[in-house]
Symmetry: C2
Subunit: 379 residues, 2 copies
């Protein structure tokens, strides 16, 4: 048969499908108005599931049954988006998040590391030079300061553009009842710092944060005789070199740290990648978001990780609502071998109907679901 | 109007939609057979785009236009999966992978670390106690030994059940023309090792691989005064304690390393999680798989990471073929800020049609697609 004739047939079928789709949307809207009128919930997963099973049974091949399932999942998700739009006109549900003006005058901020560390730079960058801030030792300490109310905000690194996510912070975000209210990106320019007058040939030991060592691995691979010592952060490393006054020691840290700890830059720009940045999150012990917040972070686990398509199905709530997923990460669940927790970022504001629809769907169909925050994205 | 009446109307519309969907699949199959007959490619993104635009124009509201767009994207993706199935029937294509019997008698094997390290344990466990094996210093050295033919096989850790993936190995797997032919899981039982007669109170410095330090972080958090020094691997750390004969030093390594380096176990089972395992991959510079291989690893990037649903769309090829995805990871692409490369594992053998269909689809619709290997999974 001729290709043109086949394509005309497809065009004709598509026209009918579009007509039926629009009829279906009309009737679904009437159902929604009825439900809203008598206070019934829009989403009825049991009913949808049985509807899809009946639809699959009508298909004449196993391939088509699978196709029908996908198609009807989509159709019902589109209907639900429209229905939630109607519900949103009556009842707003922001999952306990409140819009705020983002004002942080007089706030106290905790960051990890010491003065001169990248976390300090992020704190000054986000809150301004005059902010009242203090440092703590570990990522978990930041979580605790904020959770227990000693700090209004905390600043934590979540991702480096070369080495990937900072896994500990992801794990902590799931554990603690704190929420992301902002983000800030710091350009990382690692340098090799030593006591003034030190020659690179004298060095035997180099100190840095494990991420600092990792991000300069190409430079360090050329110095296989150097001992690499991991410390709490890059600025502590610079401080140690200053305190110990030993010319066999060097630190990998920022040029800003050299100034603070009276060290010389022995070699600048030693990162593997000169386009290296670290993304920080700003956290609060409060579910709030500012007007214009355009990024949402969530985490969840799957009830049955080995069921075909269970992750795919969860992602469908984002996609069917025409939302743009920008990131997905998985982390092993402690004590539960080879099972994962997922972390997803997507564009949107929690006040919008499609976002609420996606969140509602995922909250219902995953386990340990958490909205980590809604904030203004950088870039 | 009555809810039951509305639901009957929806059922009636759905019946018609299913009938039209099946008709559309029939015609699309004829188009596919025609295309296969004259060697034309299945995927024609320009034609699909213009088709969707025309479909949207037929909708009578902007909401419905968005619904039509989503629906037709899905419809065409389903058609394409069927078309790739037909292509797979016409041309068997193992993507250059050859079935082999997995015989490795007389093989030379390279692993990272020294004797007594977990990599050594994995090598002996997979190949047997009599294997001819030797150690190299870094993960990349293993890649090079195998790639340049000095070793027939290499052994590399890819994931720990507590700390997650070993990111460097993922990055190297994408870079080097080597392939996974097997996997092996080693139970990790970290212990604190020291010179015989050492008391824990005497210790000032502890050596280990960064992963070893990370996996014992709860134990180490109680010893904030200890200096934590990162070395190449756990066994090198044990060796250092033996060589330096200094009772202020300890190593975190396996009890097996204690035996090899004449050290005492000062404290056993210090891992955060006593269900701690490391998964190793066995690599070759050859595209081969054994009969019964049931796990496939792939990597790819997205042409447009910020296009709604592009990852979802790529995953659809796995799901529509009823394959079970077991793992997804993303890694930043070096030098390309906030863009990611994805690593996915799913169940299957490269000789099977649904697997070939999924691979063909993803190969066409992602960029820098690589099949990392097909091997027998542990557990």
């Amino acid at each position: 048969m001729d290709l043109g004739v086949l394509r005309d047939q497809i065009d004709d079928i598509d026209k009918q499908i579009i007509r039926l789709f629009e009829e279906r949307m009309d009737v679904a809207e009437q159902v929604a108005r009825y439900k809203i009128g008598c206070g019934k919930p829009v989403y009825d997963p049991v009913r949808e599931r049985s509807k899809i099973e009946r639809a699959k049974d009508m298909a004449t091949s196993s391939f088509n049954a699978r196709g029908v399932e996908t198609l009807f999942n989509q159709l019902m998700a589109i209907s639900r988006v429209r229905q939630y739009e109607l519900v949103a006109e009556a009842h707003q549900d922001n999952f306990g998040f409140e819009e705020c003006n983002g004002d942080h005058v007089g706030a106290k901020v905790a960051f990890q590391g010491v003065e001169g560390a990248y976390g300090h730079q992020a704190t000054l960058g986000y809150f301004g030079k005059d902010v009242e801030c203090y440092h703590v030792k570990t990522f978990e300490d930041v979580m605790k300061e904020v959770h227990e109310g000693r700090a209004d905000y905390g600043v934590l690194p979540v991702e480096n553009s070369s080495t990937g996510i900072i896994t500990d912070v992801y794990d902590l975000m799931h554990l603690y009842d704190n929420y992301i209210v902002g983000e800030y990106v710091v350009k990382v320019e690692h340098a090799l710092l030593g006591l003034p007058g030190t020659e690179i040939d004298q060095i035997k030991t180099v100190y840095s944060h494990p991420q600092g060592l990792l991000q300069c691995s190409r430079f360090l691979d050329e110095k296989p005789e150097w001992e690499q010592v991991s410390l709490q952060n890059t600025a502590v490393s610079a401080q140690k070199v200053l305190v110990e006054q030993d010319r066999t020691q060097a630190a990998i840290a920022s040029p800003a740290a050299a100034a603070i700890y009276s060290l010389s830059v022995l070699k600048e720009k030693i990162s593997d990648n000169d386009n290296n940045s670290t993304r920080f999150i700003i956290i609060r012990h409060k579910k709030e978001y500012v007007k214009g917040a355009d990024g949402i972070s969530i985490s969840f686990e799957l009830a049955n990780a080995h069921e075909t398509g269970s992750l795919y199905h969860a992602l469908g709530f984002i996609i069917y609502n025409s939302l743009n997923m920008t990131k997905i990460e998985s982390r092993p669940i402690q004590g539960d071998k080879w099972r994962y927790r997922f972390f997803i970022d997507f564009d949107g504001n929690i006040g919008e109907a499609p976002v609420q629809d996606a969140l509602r769907g995922m909250a219902q169909e995953t386990i340990n679901f958490k909205i980590l925050g809604n904030y203004i994205q950088v870039e």
